[in-house]
Amino acid sequence: MDIQAYIESGIIEAYVLGAVTDKERQEVECMSKIYEEIAAELKVAASTMESFASIDEVKPPAHLKAAILEEIAKSEPKVISIAGNKQETSNDDHTTETISDSTNNNQSWLRVAAAVALAVAATFSYLYVNNNAQLTEIRQQLAVIVDSRDNVSQELEVLRNELSQTKTELAFLQDTATTSVPMKGIPEKAASALATVFWNERSSEAYISVASLPEAPAGKQYQLWAIVDGVPADMGVLEIQLANHLQKVVNIKNAVAFAVTLEDEGGSPTPTLSEMYVIGNVTS
């Protein structure tokens, strides 16, 4: 939680100006309970508004005071009181609990005292539990927010890596020393199969892109070969999820042709020529 950023966002000022939604209002009140800095900022801002409200004081008409005092004399304050009022002046009968004075005997005094103590304890424990529950809830919400932020960071990291890889590939493809070698399907095996090797003669780097190859049966895997000086050289097995992606393969020099064969999973030291699916010659 960046408290300073929260303070500087202007939300506290909006709060004291009364320009917040209910949700924002609750948020500011919660935050000011948790963070002293926010509470202090809120106090200062509220006091500024008090000063602001005070500069334009207008005395209400005199009769209004009498009318208001008359009205409140008729209505009791809502009491959620924990009792304890020692001297009661007037018609305060049912709403405010009153401790009457010593005309009662000691026992009833004790009962009242015990009731008061119990009420006080209950109120405090209610407030305590309530505050704790709120705090727990806020902590949980915070944990959820932090979690989702972490997820976003991870996703961002993945995207960054993909972007950097794509940039590398693009630079490779745009390099004038890179040639593309289309490998066409062997009619007996898969006439419509197609894959392309991109090979940079200068750096020896190579990538393969598969446009279409029959799905490899279970336990089998495609393997790429280069023909160098009339001998096949292993360039690695193809990964399964390859559609429209470039896969980096083993560096190679002096290749004159590339071919893909179907081999046992993990690849084979020499190609099974009867299982060749595509082949293409390097044309320089």
């Binding site: 100006l17 009364g18 008090e50 008409p61 809502k78």
Partner: protein, 183 residues
Amino acid sequence: MSTTAQRQEEMRIVGSIKDGNQAAFAELYDRYSGAMYSICLKMLKDSDEAQDALQQSMVKAWKNIQSYDDSKASIFTWLLNITRNTCIDRIRSLNRKPEIQDIEQSVSYLDRSDKATENKLNTDTIGLREAVEKLQPDLRVLIHAAYFGGFTQQEISDKMEIPLGTVKTRMRTAIKELRKIFD
């Protein structure tokens, strides 16, 4: 604005009111009714309405005093909030939410009524009042729209066609400027 002594005095008064003491409530009335009435006038633009609103606010304060929590706000801030909310409810029920440009007029309503009936405005605060008048107009409009007009940040942003972020930062600037005046 409140010193420790003032604060203690306030707490004494509030404590007495919580005990049902009407004389203490009269004291509260004497202290704060002027500021509350001024807000009612500015928000409702009608002195009959404003008087009704003040009465309603005061009675609400009396009835709900037990829910006042001094750890959350001073009693004055609490009363100001009750007053503003009462006026906002009245504006809504009268179905006459003002336009922002009208608020400037409603605030200056007070100055006109001042000339009509003298001695109502507190003369000690003339200097401060003038300083507030000199506040940058775009900041003053924001304060008035929010505080007296009851507009939310979003409403102000929409109506004044200012980005929400700008409304927020201007509110912070506005309160800072006010604070400079009162410090």
